[in-house]
Amino acid sequence: MSEFVSLFLSQFQSPTLGFLIGGIIVASLGSQLAIPDSIYRFISFFLLMKIGLTGGIAIRNSNFAEILLPAIAAVALGIVIVFLSRYTLGKLPGIKVPDAIATGGLFGAVSGSTLAAVLPQLDAAKVPYEAWTAALYPFMDIPALVTAIVVASLYLSKKTGGDIEKVEIWAIVKESLQSSAVTALLLGVGLGILTKPEPVYETFFNPLFRGFLSVLMIIMGMEAAQRMNELRKVAQWFAIYAFIAPIFHGFLAFGLGLVIHKLTGFSIGGAVVLAVIAASSSDISGPPTLRAGIPTANPSAYIGASTAIGTPVAIAICIPLFIGIAELMLGR
């Protein structure tokens, strides 16, 4: 047990977590430090492009059947997480159901920054994983957002007694696919599969990845501290949900990953990636989709919950936790 604790604690000294916590601290202290929006956008593009390329190159050399079960698990998790929130958070006193559904949608959706954070940590801990697991991102992200918007529309039309307003599912899927995060990732996957990007990969994307990731972590930390103010204006249940949900979703996904591990030999590192994808909550592409799709839900509630607490918990607790468990299972 003490070994596990020391493994867990050593993760806090990793650059990823250190920079995240640094960002939270400086923003809480009211620092004027600002990283331009355009740089933030470029960095998130760069990181997802690199992850996509890695995944694409891996898919080129792997068996498509291997990917099938984890992809189905990702879709199922994305949908289940929304219903979990609807019937737990949504049942609590003083919580409006659309707010709970939107929060569930955001926590079911995936964060590119969290995904970018877990992969180098797995490399550093020398836990092997299939590089294509990163390509599971849209398989969880899109079903979660679609489910949230459909469930919210059904709930609202039932409540008002009106006709069920037709939800344009294809429009939501299209919007998610067109979002900058998913586009960058899928473009990378496509280029990885169809072209031979190894020269640029080795000289540009791979060497710069960890440096850009650390800058992104500062931004995410600062963003978390700023969104905290908004979270304070909504019910405390959102903060409690935002703390527990990533860990719970992570265990759910890790369990599913282990079942697939037994069935098909999916790696334990891959189960960690699946767990962290489930633990993460969308920061970039999810909020605008939900804002447009569930207008009655309060954005301060779901964005505050996700950005101020969900993402830091996913990065600072879930990543070291699941890597620690994986290391124990690998008998280290």
Partner: protein, 104 residues
């Protein structure tokens, strides 16, 4: 030559930007101008410039020049019906003098 026209200003959430400009064009306005905007209202501080990750908390200010008050009213009514209830949005109007000869 100058002419009296109406200037309709809409300050709204950035996520609505595309929908609003589509609505404005479809109502028959000849053009519009969009700026990034920030400020504070009944739905908390909304700002630009900060590295706001999702842009869900950013605002835009859209200005439309219309030749008639009717056209401006049509646009306002449609915006009111669709977006007032759920979004941070405000509209106001004033009369201005357009300096360039142009068919509004």
């Amino acid at each position: 030559m100058s002419q009296q026209v109406w200037k309709l200003v809409i300050v709204a959430e950035e996520v609505l930007s595309k929908k609003l400009t589509k609505l404005i064009k479809e109502a028959g306005a000849t053009g519009y101008t969009v700026n990034a905007a920030g400020g504070e209202g009944s739905r908390n501080v909304r700002s630009t410039g900060q590295p706001s990750v999702s842009h869900t908390l950013s605002n835009v200010k859209i200005e439309v020049l219309t030749g008639t008050r009717d056209l401006a009213d049509i646009i306002t009514k449609e915006i009111e019906a669709k977006y007032y209830a759920d979004y941070s949005i405000i509209t106001y109007i004033y009369q201005v003098e357009a300096l360039r000869d142009h068919k509004f």
